[in-house]
């Protein structure tokens, strides 16, 4: 092994740091969309490396569905304090009231779709010209074609037919007023890359990523935690199980997996062994149609 070589993990990290610095260099009002999940925690970790010892150059923006895991909120607040970043929280609840939106009904009333409205309002309110997100190209077919700097029109829409060519490591972030750019610094990482990185960098995560006891409903083969948002109804099979989560989303639509993995190494090993991509296993609303993600992105979703 030559001294002057990076392994693939270091190469991915280098690329992401380069992208972060381009954002800071090109935009006036960038923000980092922070969901509280492992991908956005990894983004924060990379940004800290990119700008150390300077101060964290973007506010963290949390589009809050209101259906949070309390553990994830506590983690968020502690992280923000530690890194000295500004935190902006905008609630989907408020958008629903202000804009008289209709709440989704049903047993697992996901507010994921409504997040789009709150996000677009927040972008307008703060005049953000770039929003950094944790999207990865391995997540899903439509994303596989999205640029790292992805221009959105005034309505936050992505037009897959009108993407700018993105050549070499050159990122064209020029936009007209009203438009903004979604930036995906970890586009080229896969889910396993993220986990391996978290393991090698020992990045702290919210406790729900590790096995813990929880009361869950079994719904079509998936485990959904009971909570103030999800009430069991008659005939539901409720069980107390040892579970962990692979994403921290909306509590109503994020499923748990049964697990006894309680350390980072155990969790990563288990994930590598199961080889099920995370959207399929843990997001209920994605199974609807195969083109669901593509439609939603065109509508300005993350």
């Amino acid at each position: 092994m030559s001294l002057h070589r990076l392994n693939y993990m270091e190469q991915l990290e280098a690329e992401s740091i380069h992208i972060f610095r381009e954002v800071a260099g090109q935009f006036e009002r960038p923000a980092l969309l922070f969901s509280g999940g492992k991908d956005s925690i990894t983004l924060v970790h990379l940004a800290l490396k990119a700008f150390a010892p300077g101060k964290f150059p973007f506010p963290l923006v949390h589009i809050d569905t209101g259906h949070n895991f309390p553990e994830a909120l506590a983690f968020r607040d502690k992280l923000v304090e530690e890194i000295g970043a500004e935190l902006i929280v905008r609630k989907v609840e408020d958008t629903i009231k202000q804009r008289r939106l209709t709440e989704p009904k049903g047993k697992f009333p996901s507010r994921n779709w409504l997040q789009t409205y709150t996000l677009l309002d927040t972008i307008e309110e703060f005049e953000f010209d770039a929003c950094i997100g944790g999207g990865r190209r391995d997540e899903e077919k439509a994303r596989a074609k999205e640029r790292i700097f992805s221009v959105r029109d005034e309505f936050g829409q992505w037009n897959p037919k009108l993407q700018r060519p993105e050549l070499w490591n050159i990122y064209n972030g020029r936009i007209h007023k009203g438009e903004n750019v979604r930036v995906f610094p970890i586009s080229n990482w896969t889910e396993l890359d993220i986990w391996n990185y978290i393991r090698s960098e020992r990045i702290p995560l919210p406790s729900i990523y590790f096995a813990h006891k929880r009361e869950v409903i079994e719904h079509e083969g998936q485990l959904i935690a009971t909570s103030e948002f999800v009430r069991p109804s008659e005939g539901d099979i409720i069980a107390l199980k040892s579970v962990r989560y692979r994403t921290v989303g909306d509590m109503t639509c994020t499923a748990a997996v049964e697990s006894y993995a309680s350390t980072l190494d155990e969790v990563v090993n288990e994930i590598i062994a199961t080889r099920i991509s995370e959207r399929g296993e843990t997001r209920i609303d994605d199974k609807v149609t195969e083109a669901a993600m593509e439609d939603r992105k065109k509508d300005g979703y993350f």
Partner: protein, 413 residues
């Protein structure tokens, strides 16, 4: 474990999607739910097998038309390497997409249908690969099952391609007879193509030597962002953040700031928040200098004994990527990594035919997917190297200021 980025090129129906699907499938990189979706959308196939091509087929419009029209990126990992595939369309009207996909690739797989041999597209894809200086070429001769695994057919295609390779001065070319559909010589060695003694494709991809592709001699660093915390304890801190584009930088190195032409010394280097004695390509770094020089984003720091070109007029190959044509005399912005400069395309010298490399005079304007040689005048000096020598510092894009679109790939000469 390291990283290899490659691009696959072939004409429609040569089997590109099947090949990529096969690589992902046979190397066990398809996740269970993706497999289910695949099986769901595989309608009534006669033999009941899954259609591997569907795995790589992205946006809905493309699904409807059944062709790949934009670059898509795929990922797979083996115990030896992580791979990033740029899956780009091959038809001439998508030259721009192919150039985009090729720009980051260190290897190109040229797919040839064994029944058709070396065709115009094969030449074009090879020419694009050579223009962009992709260091490694793998020629995959596909659908061998349809020519009875004939060694004669294969040998003839190899001989024909050797002519192309010689003309384009391609240095590292490997040939493999495959059947993407049956999985012959993809992950495992074929049982039916017995006369082939080389390695299967995946093994080839795992073992191709990419270390020497990195230039560690000509050191280039462009400032992306100036870090100035201005806090009490870091009052005088001033670090220049960027990526080591090529070469190696060490503490104490004598350096020149361009285009200012000021000399100074590196006093400290940090990478990822920690101090380091040296940094190398492609590490991110923060460089500190002994002298107080006015330096901002886009300025270049190089060793004083190894200087790039500094000019306000450059020759370049332009690959035109916009629906709006290029007109001689038009003004654009030139984005050269993190440096943005006003530019005017002063003169268009000739059009380069990407099927033959022939030069033609430019009679009308320059259209989408055409490649031209041009002279560009810049409002301020550009610090660059010829693309052929150092692609990382010889590449740029043109931006139309009125639409903000990226309209051309620029290969500086």
């Amino acid at each position: 474990m390291d990283l290899l980025r490659f691009i696959t090129a072939g004409s429609v129906d040569d089997g590109k999607s099947t090949l990529i699907g096969r690589l992902l499938y046979d190397s066990k990189n398809i996740l269970i739910d993706q497999l289910e979706a695949l099986e769901r959308s595989t309608k009534n196939r006669d033999d009941g097998s899954v259609d591997l091509a569907l795995l790589t087929d992205g946006l809905r419009a493309e699904r409807e038309q059944g062709i790949t029209i934009d670059v898509a990126y795929r990922y797979f990992t083996t115990p030896k390497r992580k791979f990033i595939i740029a899956d780009a369309p091959g038809h001439v009207q998508y030259t721009r997409n192919m150039i985009t996909g090729a720009s980051n690739a260190s290897l190109i797989i040229i797919l040839i249908d064994a029944r058709h041999g070396v065709v115009e597209q094969t030449r074009r894809h090879s020419i694009i690969g050579s223009l962009l200086r992709i260091p490694h070429v793998v020629v995959a001769i596909n659908k061998m099952d349809l020519v009875d695994n004939s060694k004669e057919v294969y040998d003839k295609i190899v001989a024909d391609y050797e002519v192309v390779a010689k003309q384009l001065d391609l240095k590292d070319v490997t040939y493999i007879p495959i059947s993407a559909l049956r999985g012959d010589n993809i992950v495992d060695k074929s049982e039916t193509i017995k006369w082939y003694t080389g390695k299967p494709l995946l093994e080839q991809l795992e073992e191709i030597h990419v270390e020497s592709d990195v230039n560690l001699t000509d050191s280039r660093f462009q400032v992306q962002y100036v870090i100035r915390p201005q806090t009490d304890e870091l009052h005088d801190y001033r670090g220049y953040a960027g990526k080591i584009m090529s070469g190696v930088y060490r503490k104490g190195d004598r350096v020149t700031i361009l285009p200012q032409k000021k000399e100074t010394t590196i006093s400290k280097i940090e990478t990822a928040g920690k101090e380091a004695d040296e940094v190398f390509c492609p590490q991110p770094a923060v460089i500190h200098l002994t002298n107080d020089i006015d330096i901002s984003r886009g300025d270049t720091i190089v060793h004083s004994n190894n200087l790039p070109f500094v000019n306000n007029e450059v020759d370049a190959l332009l690959c035109w990527m916009d629906e709006k044509p290029l007109l001689q005399g038009n003004k654009y912005l030139l984005l050269h990594n993190s440096r943005i400069v006003r530019a005017v395309v002063k003169q268009i010298d000739y059009k380069l035919d990407v099927n033959s490399l022939a030069h033609f005079p430019v009679e009308d304007d320059v259209k989408l997917n055409e490649v031209v040689k041009a002279k560009i005048r810049l409002a301020t000096e550009l610090v660059y190297d010829p693309y052929k020598k150092l692609s990382c510092n010889g590449s740029a894009v043109l931006i139309d200021e009125t639409s903000n679109a990226t309209v051309a790939a620029v290969l500086l000469q």
